[in-house]
Amino acid sequence: MMKQLRNAVWVAALAALAITGCRKGERIVPPEVTPVDTATPGSLLNGFYLLNEGNMGSNKASLDYYDYTTGVYKSNIYATANPTAVKELGDVGNDIEAYGTKLYAVINISNKVEVMDAASTKRIKQIDILNCRYITFANGKAYVSSYAGPVVVEPNAPIGFVAEIDTATLEITRKVIVGYQPEEMAVVGNKLYVANSGGYRAPDYDRTVSVIDLNTFKEIKKIDVAINLDRLKADNDGDIYVTSRGDYYNTPSRLFVIDTKTDAVKKQFDIPVSNLCISGDTAYVYGSVFSYNTGQWTITYNMVNVKTETVLNTNFITDGTDKSIRMPYGVAVNPATKEILVTDAKDYVSSGTLYCFDKTGKKKWSVTTGEIPAHIAFVFATK
């Protein structure tokens, strides 16, 4: 009897030990590889990168790459390409662009611009910029907007700045103070246009676009547009398209056009715009608008002819696929094929989907991405 009891104790102890054998050490998560399309070698583009934002605090910003030359989509490639990078790509990927042979990813919470080799995705350098938001390029220089300028007028909200980075040395060369919480930027001629949101000062949003002279790197003008500005894109005719997010209550989201010759607003489109991509003479636009008054989301797709400056009132998705897109979060157009890429962030806490539509708006393929797929950078073939 006693023997049985002692056995029971041993059995219990062994049980405790048995379940302790399960920790193997954290591994680098390999990419998910999915063939999605037929290979199109010899095109103008090698492929594109897609930056997934990931949720704040989860360290799940991730990088995907689609290779036109093989038709293969690889999700989550950064950690495998850079295994020694401590805590991987980082937290909340906010923007990505390719320029020259390099790839620049702006990682907002991680306070850095990650500079990689566009071909191998290997890290070249990390440029530290607090609360950095977006990046744009001109004449061998990168311009990065940041919320984290000095605290001046407003006691608790910093004014924003734009940092200039030399793309050869990857050093910050100059900084200029702009408006509150600057977002997207574009260069037209020798002027940099910056959309200031003032998001930290809600409901006293900023409502200006800063105009920066690139020679002196000084703000030469503030153009009054509308509250809570966000997206800012240049067309081929010297116009700037800038979006206002509104206040989510009674002031709706709108699209504005600035003439860079006069640096004044010349037109307003009364359509909600969350994001847009200008390719050729067409702006591909979607609006996902939430109203606190009704508790409802309204999602719309539209196109604007930027030549004639008219709203076309047609959906660029023509086969009904838009109905299965829960939360459009990014849009890009292949400059060579005019294929339209739209990302679906879904519930923001699970993998998103990337849709590829042909130029007539019919779905070609779709693929699973990382969490909150958002920003796309095309990589041109080097001749």
């Binding site: 219990a12 049980a15 920790r23 401590v86 937290d91 609360n131 519930d347 699970s350 990382g370």
Partner: protein, 672 residues
């Protein structure tokens, strides 16, 4: 150490082994004549008329465990998960049977601790210093003579503070304790109990917790071949806490009843260490809290058959949250919550086997906050409950029906609509054979939780269109207990429950109009299947060493069935392991006591999809403590030394919130 290819195999092995234990106990039972046939639950003796015994830990056990807070101790219960943000001041909430932290009711000395703002109670703030008992009930405490609120949550935790008990001739108890150790902890406390008359006693308890909260953490990554590619260590910063707790009250006996009244005050300032991600190894956010409540309870048998129970409470809770980093969104918000509560419960014994009860509660809550465009909500809750209990020798049952009526008003914006719900519960207990050692039990309960003030009204996050979140529970199980004479084994018991729960209209956060603001939605349907196993045995070795073993095992399959088109349809919900368990080994020898405790939490996922990228490794910690009691003249001393997380395992319970590695604690208690 044994290694298994998959954790599932290991767990399967564990189950097999557990069955072995049970078999061994069962064989044992046949060959021994048992003298004492009183029914005991696995964890504690049964109190009167409890159809479902719940899980309990008493002062002695809690003391030997040496846990810092209620949250640390409750991890040794089956069927729950503690969400722990790490460190002494870190938020620790409990999720019972995967139904979510908001479905849990926490009661302190019989009255629920409210948090209308976010519906969560931080169990890390309740020290074990003056705790007499922690009890956990699935469904509800199966006692029909209780306030309507006690019928109102899917699972309940009852914290009972020490009640003065005086031996003949005693008038005063005085106890001082000092705890110190890792995290720069300095934690003195004082307990004073005074006998005022033969029927009235007073008690006073106070505590100061001061800690830097500093601890080392480490992140490692390996490549596909298992080679270490990075290994980085840092110290957790901004985890300091400075808190004071003062509580005092009177307990009185009446002819056929009792009364009590108490005042509780808690004040703290703490750093919020925040998430650790690439490039961010520290935060500067801070939080100040103040909690005050006054509560009274009165119970009396008016006639032989009729009893009445009155409860009342007033509570004020203040929180200030400061995010002073000007590179980010500067936040300095102040929240003030007010609560008034009154309850009346009646019980009438129709026959000696049939009792009926009715209770009615009224509660008033208000939240003020200096947020832009804040709604300033006030909630009026009326709860009514009707319950009945039948109790025979071998069969007992309870049924209750709770009516909830919620009305809200706001100063600004629009208020949520009026809610009116009726929810039932049924509990049964049956002794199938003549032996009271073995009992079968079961319950069914439907309940809901109201959306919190934050869910409904938080500026830019709240959604006043939210519906209540429903939970339905089905549970069956058995308990087997036996006491033995003339044996090394003096007492053994096992309790096993299998359950199935459904959570409908689960309130979840989805990012809203901008990434800065999330939005609450009724978006979730979860089905939960689970098994809880609790086994306990007491041993007496060589008539001198008292040895106790306590083992829990929890299996939970909690799957998201919200929408078949979701990529996570059918996946295990976030942070819920399929397998978890605990083991406590305690030994008492003369003035010495030793304790070994082990916790295991199996693999789980930190996001909705059960994909490799969201995979979180299992974690398991071993804690050791050694204590000795001794007396000098009339003063009794008790010293304890502890090592926690003996193997120095670095792990996370919540993604990006690293937990402490090996840490130490020393406790000195002086009783006069």
């Amino acid at each position: 150490m044994m290694r298994f290819k998959t954790p599932a195999k290991a767990a399967g092995m564990l189950l097999l082994l557990l069955c072995g234990v049970v078999a061994a106990f069962a064989q044992q039972a046949d060959s021994v004549t048992s003298k004492d046939l009183r029914e005991v639950s696995v964890t504690a003796p049964r109190t009167a008329r409890e159809v479902s015994p719940g899980q309990k830990m008493q002062a002695k056990e809690l003391e030997r465990l040496g846990s810092h807070s209620v949250a640390d101790a409750i991890r040794f219960f089956a069927g729950l998960q503690v969400k722990d943000y790490g460190g002494i001041g870190g938020l620790k909430t409990v999720d019972i049977r995967s139904m979510g932290t908001n479905q849990v009711g926490v009661f302190y000395d019989g009255i629920q601790l409210g948090n209308a703002q976010n519906g969560q109670v931080d169990l890390g703030r309740f020290s074990l210093d003056n705790m007499e008992e922690i009890a956990l009930y699935n469904g509800q405490k199966s006692n029909i003579f209780q306030p309507a609120k006690d019928f109102g949550s899917a699972g309940a935790i009852y914290l009972t503070s020490l009640k003065p008990k005086f031996a003949p001739g005693e008038k005063t108890h005085l106890r001082g304790t000092i705890k110190t150790g890792s995290f720069g902890l300095f934690n003195p406390s004082l307990l004073w109990q005074q006998k005022i008359s033969s029927k009235v006693s007073a008690s006073f308890s106070t505590e100061w917790i001061n800690a830097t909260g500093r601890y080392k953490f480490s992140y490692q990554k390996r490549d596909e071949n298992g080679h270490l590619v990075y290994d980085t260590s840092a110290y957790r910063k901004n985890g300091d806490i400075n808190a004071v707790r003062v509580e005092g009250g009177f307990n009185g006996l009446l002819n056929g009843g009792e009364w009590s009244t108490k005042v509780y005050y808690y004040q703290s300032e703490r750093g919020l260490p925040g998430f650790i991600v690439n490039g961010v190894f520290g935060h500067v956010d801070r939080q100040w809290d103040q909690n005050i409540f006054v509560q009274s309870s009165f119970r009396k048998d008016i006639t032989k058959r009729y009893s009445i129970l009155l409860n009342g409470k007033y509570a004020y809770d203040y929180t200030r949250f400061l995010a002073p980093d000007t590179a980010r969104l500067y936040i300095d918000n102040h929240y003030r919550q007010y609560e008034m509560y009154f309850s009346m419960a009646h019980q009438y014994a129709l026959t000696n086997w049939w009792t009926i009860a009715a209770s009615g509660d009224f509660q008033w809550n208000r939240l003020d906050a200096d947020l832009t465009n804040f709604s300033y909500p006030t909630r009026y809750t009326t709860l009514t409950a009707a319950a009945t209990n039948i109790s025979f020798n071998r069969f007992s049952a309870q049924a209750s029906l709770l009516g909830t009526f919620v009305n809200e008003t706001v100063k600004k914006n629009a208020s949520a609509p009026y809610q009116q719900k009726f929810t039932p519960a049924v509990f049964v207990s049956w002794q199938p054979t003549h032996s009271p050692d073995f009992r079968l039990r079961g319950f069914y309960k439907q309940i809901f939780r109201m959306p919190t003030f934050n869910d409904l009204y938080y500026t830019e996050i709240g959604n006043r269109f939210l519906k209540p979140e429903f939970a339905t529970q089905y549970d069956v199980g058995f308990t087997w207990n036996k006491t033995f004479a003339n044996s090394w084994l003096t007492q053994a018991g096992i309790e096993t429950n299998a359950y199935y729960n459904e959570v409908n209209d689960k309130i979840v956060a989805v990012p809203g109009a901008s990434m800065l603001s999330w939005q609450m939605e009724n978006l979730g349907f979860v089905k939960i299947k689970g098994v809880d196993v609790k086994a306990k045995a007491l041993w007496l070795i060589k008539k001198q060493v008292q040895f106790s073993t306590r083992l829990t095992y929890t299996y939970q399959r909690a799957q998201d069935f919200t929408d078949p088109s979701d990529s996570f349809y059918g996946d295990q919900i976030v942070y819920i392991p399929r397998h978890s368990g605990s083991l406590i080994l305690g030994a008492d020898y003369k003035q010495w006591e030793a304790n070994y405790s082990f916790i295991y939490t199996g693999e789980r996922y930190n996001s909705k999809e059960n994909k490799l990228k969201n995979y979180v490794e299992p974690w398991y910690t071993s804690d050791l403590s050694l204590g000795k009691q001794f007396s000098y003249k009339h003063t009794r001393f008790h010293v304890t030394a502890q090592v926690n997380n003996l193997a120095n395992q670095f792990y996370e319970v919540v993604i990006s919130y690293p937990m402490p590695g090996r840490n130490y604690r020393f406790i000195l208690t002086v009783n006069i």
